[in-house]
Amino acid sequence: MATVWRSQYAFARFFVGKTVRILNNASDLGARLKPESISIPLSRKYSNYAASPFVSKIQEQYEFEIVKNPPEWGYVERFLPLETVPQIKPKESYPSGWIAPKEEAKNLPYYIARNKNHQIPIYLEIGYRGQRKITKIKRIEGDIWLMNDLIKKYLKNKCNRYVETRVHEMGKFIDVKGDYVNILIDWAHAQGF
């Protein structure tokens, strides 16, 4: 503070004794200048930094009080980003076309858990400059091998061709060779995941 004060000193003398209100962005950083706080001798050398006076009296420009949990804070909270995606509110239908997971799917021996955005974790992975497309089903719980057999059978009936899959039991995912994302998401919705 003292450093700032000193550097502003040359200009501060113009304010001394004036009754004009100092604006918010005044150069004195909120400390109100008072005539008695600065005494300017006539033979002042403004180039001499070491001889400049220290700041003695600093008064707050604004009076304020600190309040914990004011009622207005609720309006601020509305603008704060949510920490997590909120829990699902059960409805008849959702305008976006999003489908809620069904409770009876939990009785199946296998399960695809929704991710933290409540979406089904089935993704398309493109590799080798678009040459290889792999549909990845993640977050599989329960009997992953049974689910693998069912998916293979379902895709063979649906697409009239054999599809290759790869099961990673410890990583809880199945890779299906080819782009079957929409078919598999529809299948997962039909199962109730």
């Binding site: 997590t84 933290k116 329960g142 990583g171």
Partner: protein
């Protein structure tokens, strides 16, 4: 109402008893009697992010104030944290990271410029029938400088992404829990501050040679700090210090009930957080 409770306790008893490790048959009987006669609290938990398909895991709450193991309650653990698939590749990734980020290599060699001498051309370029050389400290020479050798003060710091770090923690906790190396105790209060008590307790309960105690506070009770002070294989750690390397280094992991809850809460928070964590940059403040 009471009959339902008794039935529930009986069922719990039957389902959980085979998992418990006992030193002898007499201990087996006494513990079983303890469970039936003494009242103990079965804590059913309401999670902010309840498990969708996998069932919660149950764990006994044990005590530390007697050498003989007493079960003071039953406790539920979230399967996403304590029953995840133990990915040893991700555990290894974490251990490698933890070893590397603190490693500064001080190996050092001198270049041809730093080796003393070698300023003069050893012999003329032409006319002697010998190979042309400009300095006796060239890397080709014996006693010369080293080309592309190690230079000291090389850091191996890097930051593993937060998802791998979280996955490493859940994998290690789950592996410890599945191997019966994770125990939950009510608190870390000991009756004495003698380390013999703790040694005997660890021996009696068949806890591993090395034990890591985790509490959710920075300050452990005085008795246990004094007792573990001379034991190099028993260490105390706060929740925020829990890491994959230490969990693997110690054979048995002892969590207090509060610590287990806190770990669960923090990991679940990060698993479900929408905050996008950008890649760590060295230049970041």
């Amino acid at each position: 109402m009471s009959s339902a409770l008794i039935n529930a306790i009986k069922r719990l008893n039957i389902s959980v008893l085979p998992q418990i490790r006992f030193c002898s048959s007499t201990a087996n009987q006494s513990s079983a009697i303890n469970v039936i006669n003494n009242e103990f609290s079965v804590t059913k938990k309401e999670w902010k992010f309840p498990p969708s398909y996998t069932k919660p895991r149950e764990v006994w709450i044990e005590n530390l104030d007697t050498i003989e193991e007493k079960k003071v309650g039953l406790f539920e653990l979230h399967p996403l944290v304590y029953a995840a698939a133990p990915r040893i590749d991700i555990i290894h990734k974490n251990v490698t990271w933890q070893k590397k980020y603190r490693w500064v290599s001080w190996a050092h060699t001198k270049t041809r410029a730093e080796v003393r001498g070698g300023g003069k051309k050893p012999w003329p370029q032409k006319g002697l029938g010998r190979a042309r050389h400009g300095s006796i400290r060239s890397p080709l020479w014996r006693g010369g400088g080293v080309a592309h050798g190690p230079r000291s003060g090389k850091t191996h710091f890097y930051m593993l992404d937060i998802y791998s770090r979280l996955h490493g923690l859940t994998s290690t906790l789950s592996a410890k829990f599945a191997q019966d190396d994770l125990h939950v105790v009510r608190d870390l209060e000991l009756p004495t501050d003698e380390s013999e008590y703790l040694i005997e307790l660890i021996e009696k309960r068949n806890w591993g040679p090395s034990v890591l105690l985790v509490d959710d506070t920075d300050y452990a009770p005085r008795n246990i700090t004094v007792a573990t002070d001379s034991l190099q294989y028993v260490n105390i750690m706060p929740v925020y210090g829990l890491n994959v390397y230490s969990m693997l280094k110690h054979d048995t992991l002892i969590l207090t009930q509060a610590a287990a809850e806190k770990i669960e809460e923090r990991i679940l928070h990060h698993l479900n957080s929408t905050k996008v964590v950008s890649k760590f940059k060295l230049s970041q403040v």
